[in-house]
């Protein structure tokens, strides 16, 4: 088994594995971020391995270890790479309480950040993948890290996770996007990961000022409609979508308050990605 070092924004992760699909996906989706293991300080130690004996042959599985412990049940071996991505999300959301962590996609335009929060199915990842292939910089598709001290958003520039229909939608919308392999029958259906654009990876150490909060909601055949959103409601919704708002108590309240006060807040209803890009460009220009 080999160990690798992966740098994603502020986090250095050590991953130990011999599973080919994981190693291949890492080198495809984290270009320049994967290096040999070094004797340094790691934020997280992850191991992905296959169980011994029979399980290797009959319905083979993958086990996720966080520093020797098992936070999850094993998954079928075909899901090894998605398990790494979800596991790393878990590591960050459970431990990185130096940030207010919000379950939202976040992209940036000239270091001004646009948050796309939303319940699963609202289309935030799809929208995020579309935007970053039309000039926006990818900060994160899943975890918005708001610094408690500066209020700025720290990028991760990790691959964007796409599910089911949105995989084909993005394939057509952005033919030059780099896709990992598609994994079927996961709890979220069919999933794949799309590499972050090179420019987003190069500028991963540049944090961004939260400027707009847009709650997307995908509705079949809908026109693209952007409407103002109340700040109070936005505050409450983001608190619910946060992983550690409660845990951070006053610090969490202050960070979220600063975020919402400093941003313009909108609802966005859409069905066609092509219509959104000019609409958001228009919003940014205002």
């Amino acid at each position: 088994m080999n160990s690798y070092s992966i740098k994603t924004g502020p986090f250095l992760t050590c991953i130990t594995t011999s599973i080919p699909s994981v190693i291949d996906s890492l080198s495809l989706l984290y270009p320049g971020m994967v290096t040999e293991y070094q004797e340094i300080f790691y934020d997280f130690h992850i191991k992905l391995s296959t169980p011994h004996a029979l399980r290797r042959w009959i319905r083979p599985q993958v086990i996720f270890f966080f520093d020797g412990k098992l936070p999850f049940k094993p998954l079928p071996l075909t899901q090894a790479y998605p398990m790494f991505e979800w596991g790393l999300n878990w590591c960050i959301s459970q431990h990185a309480h130096q940030y207010l962590i919000i379950h939202a996609a976040v992209v940036a335009n000239y270091d001004k950040a646009l948050l796309l929060p939303g319940q699963p199915g609202a289309g935030k990842s799809t929208l995020c993948a579309a935007l970053v292939h039309r000039g926006w910089r990818l900060l994160s598709d899943e975890l918005t890290l708001v610094s408690l001290s500066s209020g700025l958003i720290t990028p991760l520039a990790r691959p964007v996770c796409l599910k089911n229909e949105s995989i084909d939608v993005i394939r057509q919308f952005a033919p030059d996007a780099v896709f990992g392999s598609i994994v079927h029958d996961t709890v979220k259906g069919s999933v794949t990961h799309v590499k972050a654009p090179d420019e987003s990876i190069e500028r991963v150490d540049q944090s961004a000022l939260p400027t707009w909060i847009v709650f997307p909601s995908y509705q079949i055949d809908s026109d693209c409609v952007i409407s103002d959103r109340k700040k109070g409601q936005t505050f409450m919704d983001l608190a619910k979508l946060s992983f550690n708002y409660n845990l951070l108590a006053f610090d969490g309240f202050n960070a979220l308050n600063r975020l919402v006060v400093g941003c313009r807040c909108f609802d966005l209803r859409y069905s066609q990605l092509d219509e959104i890009i000019p609409a958001l460009d228009c919003l940014v220009a205002k």
Binding site: P10, F41, Y42, D67, G68, A96, H97, Q98, L248
Partner: protein
Amino acid sequence: MVLTKNRVAQVLKNPYLIQSFSLQDWDLLIRQARQTALLVRIYRLLQEHDLCDTVPCRVMNHFVAADAYAKKLNASLDWDFRSIAKALAELSIPVVFLKGAAYRLASNRTALGRLFSDIDILVPFRELSAVENALKKHSWVVTHQNEYDQRYYREWMHELPPMIHLKRQTTLDVHHNILPKTCSKCPEPSRLFSNLVKVDQTSFWILSPEDRVLHSATHLFHESEFKYGLRDISDIDLLLSEFTDTDKFWTKLLRRADELNQQIPLFYALRYASKILDTPVPDHIWILLDKNIPWRIKSGMMDFLFIRALMPDHLSCDDRWTSLVRWLLFVRSHWLKMPLKLLLPHLIKKSYQRFKNRQAK
């Protein structure tokens, strides 16, 4: 020697050690400390010794994050204190807080960076159902609903089945003694109640300093899992170093150990606190205590077991004996809890239940 791998113990003993830490040393310290719930205690020690400037920024993030979590648990504990006080106010009985909550109420040094997960209280046995009913009226509900588990707790154990606060999910253990009724070394509960200390400006009580040490020792050395064993040894170390200079503390401690039947756990606690964390124990105490301890307790075998089990539960601390040791101590804890004629049927019943549950899934 096994102990040299224990980075956490080394730093607890001498925080200045971190001044010569490499990044890899930090890596191991944070990982071991996280698994044994001592991240925040180490952070507090570094703060006390003005050593935080030496901590690399990325390492510091982990201390700060763990500290946020600890602060949250602390605030929760205050809320639970109020909730329990309110629920039990009408009963006018002594409500005695044990372990973590007691350290906090007494402002013991042991509260330093300690994480409080569940709450333990002690009430007189005859008041048990009144207490249970009062708590139920205030949103605390009983877990372990199946009939056998209910009987197991109520007939044999020293506590009710754990209660959970409906909204907040805090766990509350309501004890009437510090060891199961079926345990041969179970103390007479009235002796615990005759030696209580009132907490200023509250309606709460806690055990006397000596009894607090003894309870901590008894709890640890009857434990079936030693996941936080090193944390518990550190608790005992901090309690002892806080009380050592109070008048006649050590004499009282030995006398209480005798009255409560807890000489063996006390012996273990002192032995391993001094072996692992260099806790100072006066020579004459060793001599007095030693007389009452059977040879098998003092044997190298127990050292072999406990030194391993009290290491952080982390890959870097395991050797080829670790899993066997943890299993043996698991068996030992059940052996101590109840006589074989109760234990065997219990284990068979529990295995059957587990089997049935798995089938149902």
